[in-house]
């Protein structure tokens, strides 16, 4: 196979060739980066929360005209309201378990603090989300306990969020235990939460923090279960529905809670939600972004492929006479087909070479201006292969048409 005729033909269309090269390069650069963004979104959306999500329900409500909670008696009143609700929910036929619970993964409402190894908070400090709740919290969430034990009922305190009482026992997630005690002997150790001591009695395998926001991403699996039923004008509960009875449990819970107190504030939009609804809401922007990017990528590739096909068929039309002459001089059909295929390979080759440079430059630029990670080379490699294949696919039809030009064309006037 000689490249000479192909190269000299290309030299006849410098500008056109250059434009196609540029187009392929830009397409490769954009598509590589866009696909990478899409991949990151999908990875983010697929992160596990650590809970058994199916059948997990969050209830968030507040009592109208609730006691202020500024003295011991009114805190007791608030706690009584909360215990009544918990007992009501527990008696529902489709409810398997229920817990007082301030937070829920993906839900957004986060309480956090810092764990350290001494009261002065020097040395190792680990940021973590606090999940306040009672002894039912871990089983209700369905988080896997890998060491130690659950809270006992007699260990549960109750107070307002800003109250003084500090818990003496906590359950931490594995990353928290690992960061505080790299030797793996966290169980039974005393740690200091914002300066107050507590003993680690249990370790759970994995529990995502309630926030998916950027500022929490450095410690997104650092969670601590706190044995505190938080009293306030509003209270939240985690409910575990019996298998397959999620919807029924949500309906029952709404009815039962409103029967206890018809004036409570529990709006349809966020009062009672399943974790799958919460997940859907929180990742909607990510999903929308991924879909939009995917649509743009698809359009890009199609436009580029169509452009290659269009331009090649144009060239074929223009060069009918030359093709005829070559055929008359003994070139076989396959030679003509190869000619256009090789021509495209050269053009696309130039395009992807430039495209790789552009893709990396674009990635570098995005990294400095936006939250963006380094583009892994396999993405670029696959992109290069894909562009070459698309180029060949796009050129095939016009090239085949060219190969069917009969030699007799050579004898006719142009």
């Amino acid at each position: 196979m000689r490249l000479h005729p192909t190269l000299s033909a290309l030299r006849q269309h410098k500008a056109g060739v250059l434009l196609i090269v540029l187009q392929i390069a830009l397409t490769l650069a954009i598509v590589c980066n866009a696909i990478f963004v899409i991949g990151q979104r999908i990875e983010r959306m697929n992160r596990p929360t650590g809970t058994v999500e199916d059948g997990l329900i969050r209830i968030s409500q507040s009592w109208f005209g609730a006691p202020a909670g500024d003295d011991a008696a009114s805190v007791e009143k608030l706690d009584a309201l909360q215990r009544t609700d918990l007992a009501t929910l527990r008696n529902l036929p489709d409810v398997q378990d229920v817990a007082a619970s301030t937070s829920m993964p993906l839900q957004g409402m986060i309480y956090s603090g810092t764990l350290s190894l001494n009261a002065q908070q020097t040395g190792v400090a680990v940021s973590a989300a606090y999940y306040y709740g009672d002894e039912h919290l871990r089983p209700t969430l369905g988080v896997r306990l890998i060491a130690g034990r659950d809270f006992r009922a007699d260990e549960i305190l109750h107070r307002t969020l800003t109250g003084e009482a500090a818990p003496s026992v906590i359950i931490v997630s594995k990353p928290v235990a690992g960061k505080l005690f790299p030797d793996g002997d966290a169980l039974g150790k005393t740690v200091y939460q914002d300066g107050k001591p507590a003993t680690i009695v249990g370790i759970v395998e994995r529990l995502q923090t309630p926030t998916t926001a950027k500022w929490g991403s450095a410690w997104d699996y650092n969670s601590v279960l706190e044995p505190i039923r938080v009293d306030g004008a509003s209270a939240s509960y985690a409910v575990r529905a019996r298998p397959g009875r999620e919807q029924a449990a949500m309906r029952e819970a709404r009815k039962a809670l409103l029967a206890v107190d018809p004036l409570r504030v529990m709006p349809d939009s966020w009062g009672i939600q399943s974790l799958s609804q919460i997940r859907d809401k929180i990742y909607r922007a990510d999903r929308g972004m991924a879909l939009m990017m995917a649509a743009v990528c698809l359009i890009l590739v199609v436009v580029t492929a169509a452009g290659i096909a269009g331009l090649t068929s144009f060239w074929v039309g223009q060069r009918r006479k030359q093709i005829g002459v070559r055929r008359a001089l003994g070139a076989r059909r396959i030679d003509i087909l190869r000619h256009f295929q090789v021509e495209n390979l050269l053009i696309a080759g130039g395009g992807v070479l430039l495209g790789v440079v552009l893709a990396l430059a674009l990635n570098l630029w995005l990294m400095t201006h936006y939250e963006m990670a380094r583009l892994p080379l396999p993405y670029v490699g696959i992109g290069v292969l894909a562009m070459l294949v698309i180029g060949q696919a796009a050129v095939f039809m016009p090239a085949r048409r060219a190969s069917h030009v009969p030699p007799v064309v050579a004898t006719r006037a142009a």
Binding site: H13, A15, L19, Q23, L26, S62, T114, D194, V296, F314
Partner: protein
């Protein structure tokens, strides 16, 4: 002559319908994708108060010191104020108008049997808030300056809440039950839901909701223990005491603050004032670090807070990239198409057409492609905006709308893009040598 060029263009385009369709499709898709993302971008990066945003400033005071990372980065003061600082600034009143602001979530109980409580969203503010932000009133006005100090039970309600509770009409002077206490209505707003909610992006994240329902005097909200719906950020290791009392004593930041400064010298003076204030705090021993303040104008503060999601910017870039590729694509196709007509050009030139005439002819053809592309672009933009509304969270999606301005922009961009793509091919076409063409054919 234009009519003739138009006729030539249409004939030429009809001669190769496939290629014509391809060029129009490319322009249409490129324009539609960029217009769709542009509509979202414009929605989130809009200036809700363009006539005044240059006079509105957000003071930041470093009440945490250099050992704390405020989340915004090293050496950046926190993005909200601690109670002590906000109150000191309110007390000194060094700006033309100013208000501390924080988000509250009280509950309204409408009068009448069996009506259920309505959870509402609003802000504790000072009376100067309303004139400072040109908040539009339907009835009444904000409260008197005296009501700020006393923490009087007065309230400004939204148009929607007015209709929900009172059935509309002028409700100034009537009482509304908020958290079980009566508040006297001093004003009813016209529908007002600025996006982003520029006066308190720290608490609200900037977007969402149907707009604030209520405004109450800040001191009243605190005194009545109204539920704090905003963000409270504390320096590392600081746990505020119980309730508002604890917050008021702590260095936790939870109050947004905005001032109106009408000219450059006022801005300079206010900067100086902030630094003096911080120096005094340093002398008093409350801060053991030199003054580290910021006074950003509203738009700069919104940028600083990353109110426009990075996502939106990146998707706009990708869409513009698509438009660029479509341009290059169309340019390539036009080049091939125009140069194939070298014979025709040669004849026209030989018969006396000037280069300028050739330019006009081919640019007309490019514009015709643009018109076709824009028609397609309009259709696809409509589909795109509709799809975005289905895909994005409501808080962002509802900002993306099909408006006359967007449609006009689509048409203009499509035609401009095609003409731009046609420039080089036209230049090449006009350089065709008539003699050479006539000889070879």
């Amino acid at each position: 002559m234009f009519g003739y060029y138009l006729d030539l263009a249409l004939r030429s385009l009809k001669r190769s319908p496939g290629l014509t369709a391809l060029m129009m499709l490319a322009i249409g898709f490129g324009v539609a994708a960029s217009m769709t993302t542009w509509s979202v971008f414009r929605g989130v990066s809009g200036d809700p108060i363009p006539w005044k945003s240059a006079q509105l400033f957000v003071p930041q005071i470093d009440s945490w010191g250099p050992s704390q990372k405020s989340g915004a980065g090293l050496h950046e003061p926190p993005d909200a104020l601690a109670y002590a600082d906000a109150i000191a600034l309110m007390h000194d009143r060094r700006a033309a108008l100013q208000s501390a602001i924080y988000a509250v979530a009280p509950t309204v109980l409408p009068a009448g049997e069996g009506r259920s409580p309505i959870p509402v969203f609003g802000f504790g503010v000072y009376g100067e808030f309303f004139p400072m932000l040109d908040v539009p009133f339907r009835y009444g006005s904000g409260w008197q300056a005296g009501d700020d100090g006393d923490g009087a039970p007065v309230i400004v309600i939204s148009d929607a809440l007015n209709r929900q509770v009172f059935g509309g009409g002028n409700s100034v002077g009537r009482n509304i039950d908020l958290d079980g206490r009566d508040y006297r209505v001093t004003g009813v707003l016209k529908p007002w839901n600025p996006q982003p909610m520029f006066f308190d992006v720290v608490d609200t994240g900037g977007f969402g909701g149907n707009g604030p329902d209520v405004f109450v005097p800040l001191q009243r909200a605190i005194a009545s223990g109204m539920e704090n719906a905003g963000a409270v950020n504390c320096p590392k290791g600081v746990q505020p005491g119980a309730g508002y009392a604890g917050l008021q004593k702590s260095n936790c930041v939870w109050l947004a603050y905005m001032v109106e400064l009408d000219d450059e010298s006022a801005v300079q003076n206010y900067r100086q004032y902030l630094d003096n204030y911080a120096s005094v705090q340093q002398k008093l021993g409350r801060f053991d670090w030199p003054p580290n303040n910021r006074l950003r104008d509203m738009r700069a503060f919104l940028d600083h807070e990353h109110v426009v999601p990075d996502d939106t910017r990146v998707s706009l870039l990708v869409a513009l990239g698509l438009l660029l590729v479509c341009l290059v694509n169309t340019a390539g196709l036009m080049l091939a198409k125009f140069l194939r007509r070298s014979g025709e050009i040669g004849v026209r030139r030989a018969l006396g057409a000037s280069r300028r005439a050739i330019h006009a002819q081919f640019l007309t053809e490019a514009a015709v492609i643009g018109v076709g592309g824009s028609a397609l672009g309009l259709l696809l933009t409509a589909i795109g905006v509709f799809a975005v509304n289905r895909m994005l969270p409501p808080r962002l999606a509802e900002l993306a709308r099909i408006e006359p301005a967007l449609l006009l922009l689509t048409v203009v961009v499509a035609i401009a893009a095609s003409v731009l793509a046609g420039l080089y091919p036209t230049f090449r076409a006009a350089r065709v040598q008539p003699a050479w063409q006539l000889k070879t054919n």
